[in-house]
């Protein structure tokens, strides 16, 4: 049949394309039904929580909902001079309801975040407003406290008008938008998050590096040893996987503490003096040691699976062609393990950047990471929207790393097994 006729027909006259679709339809539905549970699971346990986290992190409806009339009246106010009478009236009416419902405290707190000293002004207003007469609210309110004559306070209220805000994200990188709406850094003594971000990336980077340096020889040994020994070694690598993370971290605490086994050993061989035992825990050292040990298998396994596929005859070929063992290794063997290195490093780095339990237990003050800060806001300050914002920033960071990796190495080069 020539191609000019366009459509090829099957024997019963239906176009081939269509009958192919028909015959494949059942299989496609079957295939979809097979993955449907997983798809549903992913949507419920992954997409929805992330969406919720995002909306929570930018949500700022609380103040908006508490002062509906005020914000409606403020729509036409340019914020240069004191607002007109309607705004004062609307604010008085909104605030009256809040006081009546005993929810004024929340507004006081929120507005105090925006402008220091707002709380006392509002409290005073709450007491005095009971005696207010109808009409000319502007005069009456301004009489309550002289700060009501300051346009700054009214601007502070107006700034909270949008029901969405990115202020939590700014806070995550130690910045905020000041009274003029400009984004500036917080004062130097209050910049804690940026230190934590840098420390998190630093710890993740070095843990990845240590894991790589330790895992490469192990994986090579695993891939080249005879089956009898490599199985035993593999069990040694996997054994930590079968132990609880908490147990492993706790055993590091026993080992690393100042009166612990490692320090005892150092004293015994005379490396350090008994009264000068180094602190190896509750600082970065402890975090490095414990995290490297715990994440090591994640580096060994992808490396092993790649090395297993590299034929030993390649190294032999390299040597027989005149390359020294070192040259043969760096020119032939090493480039072939890059997919495994990429997979292992990406895996360890991403796991390390969000690690929580180990730094919380052995990290102390100088060894805690951003995830500990997130947990702190989840559990202690109950500032969930800030925790959500930082969680999303972490997620974005991981995605950026993934993107960079894809540009540099190519994700299709990853081999996990």
């Amino acid at each position: 049949m020539s191609s000019e006729t366009g459509k090829i027909l099957t024997t019963d006259g239906i176009p081939l394309e269509e009958s192919l679709k028909q015959s494949e339809k059942k299989n496609k539905i079957k295939a979809f039904l097979l993955v449907a549970p997983l798809l549903l699971f992913l949507i419920i346990t992954y997409m929805i929580p992330i969406g919720d986290m995002f909306s929570r992190s930018i949500d700022d409806k609380m103040v908006t909902n508490m002062l509906p009339k005020t914000y409606k009246a403020m729509e036409n106010w340019d914020g240069k001079e004191l607002p007109p009478e309607e705004v004062f009236e609307a604010f008085y009416l909104d605030y009256k309801i809040l006081v009546k419902n005993k929810t004024a405290g929340k507004l006081q707190t929120q507005l105090n975040y925006e402008k220091n000293g707002f709380k006392s002004v509002l409290k005073k207003l709450a007491r005095k407003q009971k005696k207010f007469e109808e009409g000319n609210y502007k005069e009456q309110i301004m009489k309550v406290h002289k700060r009501w004559r300051n346009v700054e306070y009214w601007r502070a209220i107006k700034r909270r008008a949008p029901s969405y805000t990115y202020s939590k994200y700014l806070k995550g990188i130690d910045m905020y938008s000041n009274e003029d709406g400009k984004i500036v850094q917080v004062s130097e003594d209050r910049r804690i998050h940026r230190i934590l971000w840098i420390r998190t990336v630093e710890v993740a980077f070095f843990v990845t590096l240590f894991c790589f340096l330790m895992a490469y020889p192990i994986a090579h040994l695993l891939a080249t040893l005879p089956m009898k020994y490599s199985n035993l070694l593999m069990i040694c690598v996997l054994l930590p996987f079968w132990t609880s993370l908490l147990v492993r971290t706790a055993s590091w605490m026993i080992l690393l503490q100042q009166q612990g086994i490692v320090n005892d050993f150092f004293v015994w061989i005379g490396l350090v003096a008994d009264d000068n035992r180094p602190e190896m825990m509750y600082n970065k050292t402890g975090t490095y040691v414990a995290m490297t040990q715990i994440l090591l298998p994640f580096m060994v396994l992808p490396l092993y699976s790649v090395m297993k596929t590299i034929s030993p005859s390649l190294m032999r070929a390299g040597k027989s062609l005149g390359a020294t063992p070192a040259t043969a290794f760096f020119k032939v063997y090493f480039p072939l393990t890059i997919p495994g290195i990429g997979a292992g490093c990406l895996l360890v780095f991403i796991l390390a950047i969000g690690y929580y339990i180990t730094p919380a237990l052995v990290g102390g003050a100088s060894g805690t990471l951003i995830s500990n800060q997130i947990a702190y806001h989840m559990k202690s300050t109950l500032d969930w929207s800030f925790a959500s914002a930082m969680g999303l920033m972490l997620l974005t960071g991981v995605l950026v790393i993934y993107w960079i990796y894809n540009k540099l190495v190519g994700v299709d080069n990853i081999k996990l097994g």
Binding site: S313, R316, A317, K319, S320, G322, A323, P325
Partner: protein, 361 residues
């Protein structure tokens, strides 16, 4: 420049992996410069071990290997200057064909211009000039094989080792590659040590063949001699087809001997039998026995045809002869004397010279 007689020399080489079993036993082997020597043998006969010892990936347990009169046991592989073609090609999958070929030159710090020239020359030698920028994975098996050969030759090694290089190719390709490798060897005159378990390959390509069995060289000679004049029954059995009769010598005189079988007797050529009463296995090549011979032959027997198989260029006939029901004849299909039919009795004759009385099986 005269060719050196013992360019590669195995001198009383033993090899054991576990300290209990010798894989190679007391191996002595001299290879001439420019020669194509094949190590042929069944798997586990020690031939690949010999090759690996020569390449430097295994060390002899005892004895010494000499390359151009220098002992090489203590020289690491990368300093031996021996090219090698591996069983599965061992091309570097992350390098292009060009980079693969340039690799041995780069590690020798040869200038870039010379590298380009040499690689181009080597690629054209295996007629792959167009393929320099391809990755090995984009080539067919035969092309990969040719790249591997070119890579082993590009740095002008004195010896090239090939470890069953054609094992992964299909039959037709394997045959054409055999000729190609043979022609390359003839044109550049490099010494080649080739390992295979395929006797056809060995017979086609080699100047000399070393037949290995049980860690020992059973026979080292040219292909025709190996086929026509095997020195023992293993070689006779391993190379080509072979009809055998087990019997006992009862008379030896003037270069012939009489061998008594269970039924009847044969006049044979005493190769490894010395005296009367020795047990022997007589080996006769299928094409040496003729049907209704016109010339006078000193062995004449009657046999009954049990099976006829048509093979295109020839017909295989299985006979029951002197109590051996596995006696094979190869009859060219052009011959006219064909009363070859199942169940017929026919006259078979052969010369006593072609019936070789070897060691008993």
């Amino acid at each position: 420049m005269s060719k050196k007689e013992d360019f590669v020399k195995f001198d009383k080489v033993d090899k054991s992996y576990d300290g209990k079993v010798l894989v190679v036993k007391d191996l002595n082997l001299d290879i001439k410069e420019g020669e194509f020597v094949t190590m042929l043998g069944p798997s586990g006969s020690g031939k690949t071990t010999c090759l690996m010892m020569l390449a430097g990936f295994e060390t002899p347990t005892n004895g010494e290997i000499y390359l151009d009169k220098n002992p090489i046991s203590n020289i690491p592989p990368h300093k031996r200057g021996i090219g090698m073609v591996f069983q599965n090609y061992a091309l570097f999958p992350h390098m292009t064909v060009f980079e693969n070929l340039a690799f041995p030159l780069k590690v020798r710090n040869i200038s870039k211009d010379d590298i380009d020239k040499k690689v181009d020359k080597a690629l054209s030698m295996v007629s792959l000039s167009e393929f320099g920028n391809r990755m090995p994975g984009q080539l067919s098996g035969g092309q990969q094989q040719r790249v591997a050969v070119a890579r082993a030759l590009v740095f002008d090694p004195s010896v090239v080792l090939m470890d069953e290089p054609l094992g992964a190719l299909d039959k037709n390709l394997r045959e054409s590659m055999q000729y190609e490798i043979k022609h390359i060897h003839e044109s550049i005159g490099v010494t080649v040590v080739y390992v295979t378990h395929d006797q056809g390959e060995a017979l086609t390509m080699s100047n000399r063949i070393a037949v290995f069995n049980d860690g020992k060289v059973q026979q080292l000679s040219s292909p025709d001699k190996l086929y026509e004049e095997p020195v023992n029954s293993f070689v006779a059995e391993f190379i080509g087809e072979n009809n055998t009769f087990d019997g006992e010598v009862y008379e030896i005189s003037n270069g012939t001997c009489r061998v008594k079988l269970e039924k009847g007797e044969i006049i044979a050529n005493p190769i490894s039998v010395k005296s009367v009463g020795e047990k022997t296995t007589v080996s006769i090549r299928p094409e040496r026995a003729l049907i209704n011979p016109k010339d006078k032959m000193d062995n004449n027997q009657k046999g009954k045809i049990e099976e006829v198989i048509y093979h295109g260029d020839h017909t295989r006939v299985r006979l029951n002869l002197l109590g051996n029901s596995e006696f094979i004849l190869k009859v060219p299909n052009s011959s006219q004397n064909l009363d070859i039919k199942l169940g017929n009795e026919i006259n078979i004759g052969w010369n006593s010279h072609d019936a070789r009385a070897l060691d008993p099986k």
